[in-house]
Symmetry: C2
Subunit: 569 residues, 2 copies
């Protein structure tokens, strides 16, 4: 036991058996990067593929350098012709936004592609660190330590947006102080929008020779809402997060016919898009899954949703199945059209009647509101459970705005379904439990898919930089047929969106399309899943063995692949 | 994609790639069961080990047959001498209580050991099904389908206790109707207590030839509170549940230095004992882990606990670490001595002043209480957050009792630590999130440890039955040295406990011992874990590959093993 205690002490600081083995795990490398078994730079040539902004003229106006240089053509990695070696490049890499599994492997991929002749610098604490100039040199020991591990802790991250002229100026200073040739931004839609602006701003007169600093983006977000059809199958971190959630949902599904006791309402992280909920649904096949985009598109009311859920609960009860699972996307409330309408009027009314409403109890507040608000909105508000009404009236941020994300959607649904069933079918037993899976999905060790995907994205970024390009986002496609490395022009992804009342050029969040193969497959099968116990319990993600190579089901369907296994290299 | 859709349809009903592969996974078999590579019955001989009840006389009085037959001697499996084959035995197997990973493998083990010459019957819905006589024949196709899978859904389970004479009589009828020779009870401490009573009751005059029906118990519970020192290392399901929780806690730990934003308070299932919290702590090394048994033993007050947590939060903040993880066992509230005392008086006071308290608001209720209750208890009550006070006064069950399990301990701690820090160190930023991991740990696919442990327990049960014994619980020890199969007399585990004011003979729950190697290792190291980020993120449990064979750390420490890897067969 003394020897066991000694061993246990050596496992501290991420050196458990699993964590040690994971670092030794070989991730497959796309063949284009291999020459004689060694990682090697590539050329980027025009692929014949392109992507177009809906607001090309506006984009050209704001991004004269990038649009002239890159246009809307997607580049493709091909074997390198010349034997010239690029040397002495100094590249900085940073994480932006919430963590996602595989970030460390992007860093490892860039490092390995740059090789010994160039230098990789890590930016501490994300964009904030880039502004402050908080950089350090990445060493090969670090890469060994972080390879295949979860988290963003090697560099840290933050959510600063580089927007003001002073911030841009500060970044320029950081580039000059550190003699940077390039910056790699690992982030979501907003961060890659930022990367596009940065690429344009830094495109010339930065370095001593008058040239610019290259900027390349990497698609990260567990929400999966940064994807570009066939040109970018998915953002990294999505696979790991959904595999973690799918295991948990699957475990609970497996529990339901064992215990025959509860309906579990499970909220999953992801405020804007329902990709996570859809993926988990396809992996686990629960009785009910709400898809926010469908609710918005079909203009469903809250009552419609409650009725739909109740119908399934009652139908299953008739078959003796007083149990089941309902998967709820975190942001669903904001996709119910009547709800957004009501909240808008509520916000306005509360702001305009602040003094009158002060220090009143709920019933009194409701009286005041109903004398001002429209009947329909008031009816919806009054139909909500009282603690939700209270939250909507009392829990407001410093600007007086309701924190919609604070509303416990899963409990709201439970209470309203309970209420509905009590009236519609009082004989039905309906015991419930609720869960929220979120933070546990961001920093898990990457799945084999994410580990390979991110390492190859990192290699791609390194290669794009060595080829001298700027203003691209790296992509990795054809994942069932060896893999293809692409560089997609960031500016071609920008479209006009109204934010805070102002026109802005941004990368739009990719939402679940109701005509996508993944959603259509879900829609075609969900009624059977609601009626019978056809669920899966897909288990913990495997890093070794026969079940390790699975990719996200939504990706395989939407990319038109013939199977679920990755085949890279 | 058509072919992908077709494939996806074939994965319904637990036939995903992972679930299909898991069924094919070979679990190691203890050598004593193998003859020429085939599973074969064994003899059970006296091992030299024994276990003694503290109330032997009382036990003998209640269990004359069993005590005479089995005494307190632990039996050990050895190679079978004779070549006689036992035939035509009819054995019934049931699950009792909440699900735990590996239950299906116990059934598979019993089935494989009984072989083709005997019949295994499954009892539907636990003890309730035994009373009703709801049995069906287990077929080899079923075993192929359930092997290595999670959940108790193959048989179902329930929490009925067989207590009344009518219930015992009904079980006797079931035995006769189904011509049973034996019953296997897979359950926790209470279910195995029940198995002892059943074994005594059924020990003679049940079958036509005047002989009895054998009853054998199997130690199940994710809480890990059914263990007997070196004679029974752990109940099954504990390893899988703690590995699932440890992955989640590890993922969140990995998130903390990535985001540098939150203290996460994580409640883990397990109301009576803190084995789960201790095991997860040893696997993940968070800043703070509460152990209920220590709190009780050291007579710590709620304020002591709040102060201890706050100290760590403040000390870490000074090092720039405004983040961390606190692991909280579900039942901790009931282990705080002053809390139990206060709740006792509160329950009494509320019951005695029911009419006076009715329809009063919280402040008024508090006034009434403070005129009746002792000052110390009242002070503690008033120190709690108001919503907790309200819960304690308003949320009572049909008998007027407080549902202690309903108290959101993790939120209570957060609020009180927040309050404390605001006074003690107002400059410290303390943002929090809370989690509860419970149900997702009960029905996951068994870890390799649990899969092997339960399959061998099942083989052991089958072999004990074939050897003609009754009134034993199956055990599997020496897990790092090939494994040893034991049969422990159930009656020797019974001790007197006061339940509902009455003396009862029960198997006591095994709590965390403060002088156990596992707790001592934790206590020796936790201060360092609180100061620095020394955590592990032990990852998802692996069923294949180099990291698949790990056993629980508490088991390895308490059994005095030299490493963490199982070595069976």
């Amino acid at each position: 036991m003394a020897s066991l205690e000694k061993y246990l002490n050596t496992t501290e600081k991420c050196k458990s058996l699993f964590e040690s083995e994971i670092r030794r795990l070989k991730t497959p490398v796309c063949r284009v990067f291999l020459k004689g078994g060694k990682i090697t730079p590539v050329d980027f040539k025009v692929s014949g593929l392109s992507v177009k902004s809906k607001n090309a003229a506006k984009v050209k106006e704001k991004f004269p350098h990038l649009v002239t240089a890159n246009g809307d053509k997607i580049l493709m990695a091909v074997a390198k012709k010349s034997k010239d070696k690029i040397k002495n490049k100094r590249v900085a890499v940073l994480f932006s936004g919430g963590p996602a599994a595989g970030g460390h492997n992007v860093v490892a991929g860039v490092f390995d592609m740059l090789g010994e002749d160039n230098t990789l610098l890590g930016v501490k604490s994300g964009p904030k660190g880039l502004i402050k100039g908080d950089l350090f040199e990445v060493k090969s020991e670090d890469i060994k330590r972080i390879k295949n591990t979860g988290g963003f802790d090697y560099l840290g991250s933050d959510r600063t947006k580089i927007k003001t002229p002073e911030q841009f100026e500060a970044v320029k200073k950081t580039c000059r102080d550190n003699k940077l040739d390039a910056i790699v931004v690992i982030g979501g839609d907003d961060s890659n929008t930022n990367a596009a602006f940065l690429a344009e701003y830094l495109s010339e007169h930065i370095k001593e020779d008058g040239s610019g600093v290259q900027v390349i983006g990497v698609p990260k977000t567990i929400d999966g809402d940064l994807q570009i059809g066939k040109h970018l199958p998915i953002s990294f971190g999505f696979d790991t997060a959904t595999k973690i959630y799918a295991e948990m949902v699957g475990n609970i599904l497996q529990d339901t016919p064992s215990s025959k006791k509860y309906w579990h309402f499970i909220k999953l992280m992801g405020r804007a898009a329902s990709h996570v909920a859809l993926e988990v649904a396809l992996q686990t096949k629960p009785a009910i899954t709400l898809i926010s985009e469908e609710i918005a598109k079909k203009n469903m009311s809250l009552e419609d949703i409650i009725e739909d859920i109740s119908k399934v609960v009652i139908a299953r009860a008739k078959k003796g199945k007083n149990y089941g699972v309902v998967v709820v996307p975190e942001g669903v409330i904001e996709f119910i059209p009547e709800m957004t309408k009501m909240l808008q009027e509520l916000n306005k009314t509360v702001a305009e009647n602040e003094s009158e409403l002060e220090n009143k109890c709920l019933a009194e507040k409701r009286d005041i509101l109903s004398s001002v608000m429209g009947a329909e909105n008031m009816k919806l508000f009054s139909s909500l459970p009282e603690y939700i009404q209270e939250m909507m009236l009392f829990d407001r941020d410093a600007h007086g705005n309701l924190q919609v994300s604070q509303i416990p959607t899963e409990r709201l649904l439970i209470d309203m379904v309970k209420h509905h069933i009590k009236k519609a079918a009082p004989e039905v037993k309906f015991a419930t439990l609720n869960h929220f899976f979120g933070y546990e999905g961001r920093c898990g060790v990457p799945s084999l898919f994410d580990a390979a995907y991110t390492y190859n994205l990192g290699l791609a970024v390194g290669a794009i930089l060595l080829s001298g390009k700027t203003g691209y986002i790296a992509s990795f496609t054809d994942l069932e047929k060896g893999g293809k490395i692409l560089a997609v022009p960031l500016t071609a992804l920008l479209n006009v969106e109204i934010r805070h009342g102002k026109e802005e050029l941004v990368i739009e969040k990719a939402l679940v399309e109701l005509d996508s193969p993944a959603f259509k497959y879900f829609a075609k099968n969900r009624e059977r899943w609601a009626e019978e116990d056809l669920f899966n319990s897909p288990g913990p993600r495997q890093l070794w063995g026969p079940a390790s190579k699975q990719m996200p089901v939504t990706v395989a369907l939407n990319q038109g692949y013939s199977g679920l296994e990755i085949n890279i290299g």
